[in-house]
Amino acid sequence: MNPEHDTPGSAHDEARRSFLKQSSLLTAMALVPGPLVQAASAELDEKVAAVFEKIPLKLEVNGIKHKLSVEPRTTLLDLLRENLNLTGTKKGCDYGQCGACTVHVDGQRVNSCLSFAVMHEGKKITTIEGLADGDKLHPMQEAFIKHDGFQCGYCTPGQIMSAVACIREGKADSEGEIREYMSGNICRCGAYSNIVAAIQEVKGGGQKV
């Protein structure tokens, strides 16, 4: 069962209508020369941009289908955090350098700050909120708890999403390999030893991740 969600303010039809209105006004004004109109059109450019900004997007996030309307410049990270209230995915740099924003897109780990939401039309996104099976935690979450794979917890969702993918990718066969393939996820608290122990336990346990 896949519930469908319409996010508030997703009325792109309405946006398109008012864009048409605005743009015909702009065309009319462009026929009138003079500095006054230039100034007015500069202002209108912004207004036009405002209505043109949003485009439709369909996404499935943690098993829930969303019909959204987003600005093309909105990152997947900001969409999750600000529009969908999925704040488990963290912003640690916004430049693709820390891994705090790691999510799975169609099963692959991705830095959500480095991809625009609109690039993911029709894709399935899994965030940390969607990893557990209801109340039953994912084995990686359990292992992080047991091995104390965090301190402040801010890098943790990214570490866990990355760790799950690391095992699925077959890149968790040794401590050295784990350290190499987890190096995109910075933990400034320095819980690395414990994170590696958690990943090794899950890998060694042979559970499906």
Partner: protein
């Protein structure tokens, strides 16, 4: 009234964190993650010059941009009614004057100083509009290089005013005695600017709930300090300001100060009259929320040929800003760690056109220990002595600075633990003796110490009808696991299982506590938790007596989370069916409440240090042993093994304490090998702007760190016996690595970080 198995002792047990589930499921909520109706987003615009005045600022385009609600600059900002800036006063390092007042005047004091804040209905719109703000400046010549300004270095004002201030010059024995010593050395050391860079970007959500009532969801290490600063800024009674910091995504010291972005968000929320969320960019984390200051040090040391230190002189110049005097205890370890009849220390500051520094993990001590512990290693080589043996020959059994006994000191035990685990016996005195192909192998050690500080703290404890206990305290948890440790302390004190206890923190409305910093939280909040629970038990005893027994209060005891009473033939207990023949009976806490017709019992207790500091010198100690591999062709340094041992008193939770030690060690790797925030002095602007330029250790840089605790209680610091862990986890790590690099290569690097270019 069932018999319950006696719960096992929780203090010392490796209990999982009480907030672990929230942290692994994404449910933990940090300061930019609160959902408030009508939320708006703020983005700061920073100055592009380093010093001068704003001559014009054009905000028209930004104001017209879609979704923009306000553009605030010094020209239109409402002025908070705060008292006049109080000026430079290092005794009040929490800024309480100028630096809090953003958009107050046209003056530029550092590059990227906020000159405007743009508020819009989305991040994207605010960010776009912020890029449209244009500023003109009248530039002035700036100074951002410490060494070029060393000749202007000065004694901190607080020390000038007060001859007893610890930042004054220190002297024991003869001045600069090392100069006439039998074996002597004199070396200069440099620590570059390092930035805390917690993974959570500094963020605040500011909400004026009424014109005179402010709520802040803020990244802070001290909910009460933040409340005090902003209540003062807006001239509000403190109770009108509420600060919430339930989860803090790391801080390492940078949330020990109130910063301009917080002022800006609060101001913006006032102007738009809606909640405002503001999150700094990684770039802005370099410029306006503090850093470990660039510090130059010179250390002179002399010793007798048989390895007794005869003199040490340690001087330093640390960086501060032009508008605040920031000081730290760079020279503290030199005064007390080793026996030496003659010790001189001189601490100076150089004021530069850069934002203010702030304590960064193991604040000045980590900087000072780099010089002292490197010099110890250098001297050991001059004397042809094992550096561990050299340290043992200069071990102090009482504090040579304060002439007081140590409250406890188990550093020798730490040496032994660490030396065994790293395999110190493999180490060769002659550098470059061990190799594995192209890799040179070396071993080094470094010692750390930090005061076992304790402050006043209050904890409120409440027994609820279902038999669970709710504890509250305004303290924060930036990562060490405060709530977990307190739950363990409460569980042992009350004799109930930890899952019946909830410890709430990170809210300024809760009972008062010290700011989380200086390794003092467990030392301070731990005893308050313990005493609040004891007070709760006293109340229970009275209630139990009233309801069940005529026994004297002192005859009522506790066992396994129940109250134990003598079965007094004339008392009330026999009313309880089936208990007539028992010599004593047990009654659960919730039954006591029920029998008294009470919803709950509560006790709020303040615990504070007594006179123990007068009698004893109280410190935590650590030693770090590093094994490094240095590639002889590329100069790449890998820390292949790191062992950290600590004498931190009682260890409340082996698991979280061990994690904290490991984290400090990883921070030390960063300090030793990679961290360097660099300014282009021509422009006064950082050229390191993100994690691509400013390297911090990643998984691949970190070995499996081994930790060992002596775990001996200190009976003087507090009743729990704790001494503090956070700082000693990093102090001494960088010199251990630098010394190991010397042991591997014969190259002594005195300017951090030890990058390959310095080794080839």
């Amino acid at each position: 009234m069932n018999e319950q198995p006696k719960p096992k002792k929780q203090i010392g047990a490796p209990m999982n964190r009480v907030d672990a589930r929230q942290k692994v499921t994404g449910a933990a909520t940090y300061s930019a993650e609160y959902q408030l109706p009508n939320m708006t987003y703020a983005v700061l615009v920073g100055s592009t010059v380093t010093k001068g005045r704003l001559t014009g600022i054009d905000t028209k385009a930004a104001e017209r941009a879609p979704g923009v609600l306000a553009v605030i600059t010094h020209l239109n900002a409402p002025k908070p009614p705060s008292p006049k800036p109080e000026g430079k006063d290092p005794s009040q390092p929490q800024t309480q004057g100028n630096p809090l007042q953003v958009f107050n005047d046209d003056k530029i004091r550092f590059n990227d100083q906020p000159i405007a804040v743009v508020v819009a209905d989305s991040w994207e719109r605010a960010r776009y509009a912020a890029g449209l703000v244009q500023a003109q400046y009248a530039k002035e010549a700036h100074q951002t290089n410490l060494e070029a300004n060393a000749d202007k270095a000065f004694l901190p004002t607080a020390a000038k005013k007060n001859p007893k201030h610890p930042m004054n010059d220190y002297q024991r024995g003869q001045v600069d005695a090392y100069k006439t010593g039998a074996v002597k050395l004199e070396s200069e050391y440099v620590i570059p600017t390092e930035v805390h860079h917690p993974m959570e970007l500094q963020a605040i959500t500011a909400h004026w709930e009424a014109p005179d009532r402010l709520t802040l969801y803020d990244k802070t290490q001290g909910t009460l300090a933040t409340r005090r600063d902003f209540a003062k800024q807006w001239n509000l009674p403190e109770e009108n300001v509420k600060v919430i910091a339930t989860y803090v995504g790391g801080a390492f010291g940078n949330a020990l100060h109130s910063w301009p972005h917080e002022s800006a968000a609060i101001l913006a929320a006032k102007v738009v009259n809606r909640p405002v969320k503001l999150m700094l960019t990684r770039e802005q984390m370099f410029t306006m929320v503090g850093y470990r200051p660039y510090t130059w040090q010179k250390l002179g040391m002399s010793a007798t040929p048989d390895g007794k230190i005869t003199g040490i002189t340690h001087e330093s110049i640390g960086q501060t800003s032009t508008y605040e005097e920031f000081t730290e205890a760079t020279l503290a370890q030199t005064r007390m760690m080793y026996q030496s009849p003659n010790v001189t220390t001189r601490y100076r500051l150089a004021a530069l056109d850069i934002g203010s520094p702030i304590w960064m993990r193991g604040p000045g001590e980590a900087t000072g220990a780099f010089a002292l512990e490197s010099a110890m290693d250098e001297m050991a080589y001059l004397l042809n002595l094992d550096p561990l043996e050299f340290r043992l020959r200069n071990y102090t059994d009482e504090d040579p600075e304060k002439n007081k006994p140590w409250s406890t000191k188990f550093l020798k035990e730490c040496y032994k633990l660490g030396a065994d685990r790293i395999g110190w016996s493999k180490r060769q005195l002659k550098p470059g003796s061990l190799r594995d192909g192209d890799w040179l192998i070396g071993y080094g050690m470094g010692v750390g110490t930090f005061g076992a500080h304790r402050g006043a703290a209050t904890v409120g404890a409440q027994l609820l009808p279902n038999g669970t206990v709710l504890l509250q305290c305004a303290t924060t948890d930036i990562g060490p696991g405060t709530g977990t440790a307190m739950t363990q302390i409460a569980a042992d004190t009350l004799g109930i299982s930890p899952d019946k206890i909830k410890f709430e923190l990170g809210n300024s409305s809760f009972p008062k506590a010290v700011t989380q910093g200086g390794s003092s939280t467990v030392n301070s909040v731990g005893p308050a938790t313990q005493e609040a629970c004891l007070a709760l038990k006293d109340k229970l005893r009275t209630l139990a007596g009233a309801a069940f027994s005529t026994a004297k209060a002192e005859d009522i005891t506790f066992e396994g989370g129940q109250t134990v009473m003598r079965n007094d033939a004339n008392g009330k207990l026999p009313l309880q069916i089936g208990l007539r023949n028992n010599p004593s009976v047990k009654v659960s806490y919730s039954d006591i409440l029920r029998q008294n017709g009470q919803q709950n019992v509560s006790a709020t207790v303040e615990a504070k240090p007594g006179g123990e500091g007068q009698k004893y010198s109280m410190y935590s100690f650590s030693v770090h042993f590093a094994e490094v591999r240095v590639h002889q062709l590329t100069g790449e340094v890998r820390v292949s093994k790191l062992v950290s041992c600590a004498d931190a008193g009682t260890i409340v939770n082996e698991k979280t304490a061990g994690n904290q030690m490991k984290g400090g060690a990883v921070g030390g790797i960063g300090m030793a090998l990679m961290e360097h925030a660099r300014i282009d002095d021509r422009f006064g602007r950082y050229v390191t702007k993100d994690f691509a330029d400013y390297h911090v250790p990643v998984h691949a840089d970190s070995p499996a760190v081994e930790v060992a605790f002596v775990n001996q209680p200190d009976p003087h610091v507090n009743a729990l016996g704790t001494k503090g862990i956070g700082e000693i986890a990093i102090i001494g790590v960088a010199p251990a690595i630098a010394n190991a690099v010397f042991n591997a290569t014969g190259k002594r690097i005195r300017e951090l970080p030890i990058t390959p270019d310095k080794l080839i």
